[in-house]
């Protein structure tokens, strides 16, 4: 029996006493951080072994937020599962909607019109702003700068108001549908988006000025918990964390979807992979996201916002349902039995704000997936914690956890 197992086997009194004896007389001390601890942003639990205040070993314990999303998916139709995707990476929920819809659409072999794509791009980038703003804000808060968190949260609320205008819900958006969207964008929404973009940009610059060159913050972050390029690749780390480690990997550039190849934006890449680089990369990504949103708003094409050819997948419009027999039957079938998808399997990965989010859908026909596999970026970076945390001090833990910006809903699923 390994030592870790001994500690966790609570039923075995002898093992427990041995572990206790080891802790009292041994050289190291075990500190339990979480699952309810202000630094862990959710229900991550870290079992730290300390020598003085220096961490010698770190065991992340995950699963406190496991809801069995993959199994749930097998019991719901494709459209019914969309609200569940909100709860994956619940910091930028609308991006999960989009990724999931794109995965199922790939299985169905359908495309969406340009207008729908542009709207989805705006949604994705707004989700990125949401995610990065809470990531940066919490990072600042973990370093002791609570004001940065408040500034960023104020602007997140503005983005939430945009979401509310778009789909009625602020947080769990449930906006996309297979083959289209829940509804078209409301009148004047694009102007509001531009206005919020200005605010977001201003706040981002403000917080950049407040913290990036701040001596205390600089000292807290530079050289703390560096993740080397090789380690990042071997742990499967993706997204801003991988880019901070020097891997120029961005699925929006590498495997463009939603017409991302038509937008101009840069991919910031770090050099050291330490906490400071992770901060810089996210600050720059906010700027690039705002750039993409501005382009999408100016180029917003007209036309339909759903695929009108995919009659067996996307629900017909209400006015047609009430006036035509064919549409009425389709509406009934899609609502009760789900969209009709072909037999087969499809894999789709997209650049979620936190990294590579992937859905693997296996269908045996009908309206319910036979198997749905979800890959979340937070799982990869949390699995890299035992590699990067040893050697840090206890006080570095919040900074490191803030800098890698994970969300447990995405990790545990």
């Amino acid at each position: 029996m390994s030592k870790t197992e001994e500690v966790f086997s609570f039923g075995d009194a002898a093992a427990r006493n041995a572990a206790l004896e080891e802790e009292i007389h041994g050289d190291t001390m075990v500190l339990n951080v979480g699952p309810s601890h202000p630094a862990t942003h959710g229900v991550l639990r870290l079992r730290l072994e300390l020598d003085g205040e220096t961490i010698v070993k770190c065991d992340p314990v995950i699963g406190y937020l496991h809801r069995g999303e993959e199994k749930v998916a097998e019991n719901f139709t494709y459209n019914q599962f969309i609200p569940y995707t909100d709860r994956l990476d619940y910091i930028g929920p609308i991006h999960n909607n989009v990724t999931y819809a794109l995965a199922v659409e790939r299985l169905a072999g359908i495309d969406v019109p340009e207008r729908c794509q542009a709207i989805r791009v705006i949604c994705c980038e707004l989700a990125r702003l949401l995610s990065h703003f809470i990531g940066l804000g919490c990072y600042g808060m973990d370093a002791g700068a609570l004001t940065v968190f408040m500034y960023m949260f104020t602007d997140r609320e503005k983005i939430y108001s945009l979401m509310e205008e778009l789909c009625g819900a602020r947080f769990t958006t449930n906006y996309t549908r297979i083959g289209g969207l829940q509804r078209d964008i409301p009148d004047g929404w694009l102007d509001h988006v531009l206005k919020v973009c200005d605010d977001v940009e201003k706040t981002n610059e403000l917080c950049d000025k407040l913290l990036t060159r701040n001596r205390i913050f600089y000292d807290r972050c530079v050289g703390v918990a560096p993740l080397s390029k090789e380690d990042a690749i071997s742990y499967g780390v993706s997204g801003p964390n991988a880019r901070a480690s020097g891997i120029a990997m961005d699925l929006r550039k590498d495997k463009p979807y939603l017409g991302y190849e038509n937008y101009e934006f840069n991919v910031p890449v770090g050099t050291n992979g330490d906490s400071y680089d992770r901060w810089l990369v996210r600050v720059e990504e906010v700027r690039q996201s705002v750039r993409i949103i501005r382009q999408a708003v100016t180029k917003m094409p007209g036309g339909l916002w759903y695929n009108d050819k995919a009659t067996k997948i996307f629900r017909p419009r209400k006015d047609k349902v009430l006036s035509s027999m064919e549409e009425l039957i389709q509406n009934f079938m899609i609502t009760t039995e789900g969209p009709e998808l072909p037999v087969g399997e499809a894999f789709f990965e997209a650049e979620n704000p936190k990294g590579r989010q992937a859905f693997f859908v296996v269908s045996k026909g009908g309206g319910v997936p036979w198997r749905l596999r979800i890959h979340g970026p937070s799982f990869s970076i949390i699995s890299a914690l035992p590699k990067i945390l040893p050697g840090c001090l206890v006080q570095d833990v919040p900074v490191v956890l803030g800098s890698i910006d994970f969300v447990m809903g995405d990790c545990d699923r």
């Binding site: 001390m29 202000p38 630094a39 002791g144 807290r220 570095d396």
Partner: protein, 368 residues
Amino acid sequence: MDWMYLLIVLVKAVVVVALVMAVAGYAVVGERKIASWVQERPGPNRTTVPILGSIPVVGWWLRRMGFFQLWADGAKFFFKEEPTPAHVNKLYFLVAPVVAFVPAMAALSAVPFGQYVGSDGVAVPLAITNFDVGMLFVMAVSGISVFGIIMAGWASNSKYPYFSSIRASAQLISYELTIGLALLPVFMWTGGTLDLFSIVREQGGVVGGGVFGLPKWFICIMPVSALLYLVALFAESNRLPFDMAESETDLVGGFHTEYGAFKFGLFFVGEYAHMTLAAILFSVIFLGGWSIPFVSMDAMPVGLLGAVVSVGVVFVKTVILMSFIMLVRWTLPRFRYDQVMDLGWKILLPLAVVNLAVYAVILALVEG
């Protein structure tokens, strides 16, 4: 005669403690208000009381300013359950909050808040008592309060408070040295007196001349000392960016993790009382106490009016300094523990020694 003297001292003590407690209490509300203004939000603005709150304009304004919030916060501490966890050392656990709180109050007994100039022209300090070693007493007594934190961390028998108490003790030792060395030039300047009243009397008048005239405050005469002392005060009163003892992002609540209700309240008020004490001390030693810039000590009003003016001046300076301390908290991130130690031992302490040497040479040249 004897009991009369005792009564006067007692009345003075009650007045001072009541005033300082009020200031410390309202510092809590002030802190919340300043934080909210920094962070662009309204802050506490809902709490109100039946009669006072319904006065037409004033009541509304007091409610918006969070004036009654303190009463609600204070009452909450009284009415909450008093938990004492089973795994703690009961005696030390109960004594710790008192040890953390009392020194702040005790130290105030030697601090002069103003002066009273009688008809005979002799200035009398307005203090509970005025020692000739006042400063030494204040430093010694206020240093005791860290034992409250150490005891709390040890008695809690829990890992996070334990970390906190170790950090607090190490931090206090490091920064006490800096405080002592930063203050030495001041005492050398005043001819070796540790009497706070004489130190303030020394600061009346102007240094330099013409348009370059500055008030003869020690912050203008020895700015490095003032800076060192200010930084050390942050560390001494456990304020961000030096709040290692209760850095809530990694130590949850630090030494008071296991505390609740009124025992926590004592820690909490004690912290603000320490901050008030620190602000008063800084304004007395470095900001000229009750001296008004460009007004000589002899031209100050006399009698009862003079007493009120002098206390008012100290009060204003204290409030400004406390607002500054609060603004810093809501602006800067927090140091890491080893960086606090580095700063204390590798930068502040050598700087304090050099500063002391420079002023020793200057004074020797001036006097010699």
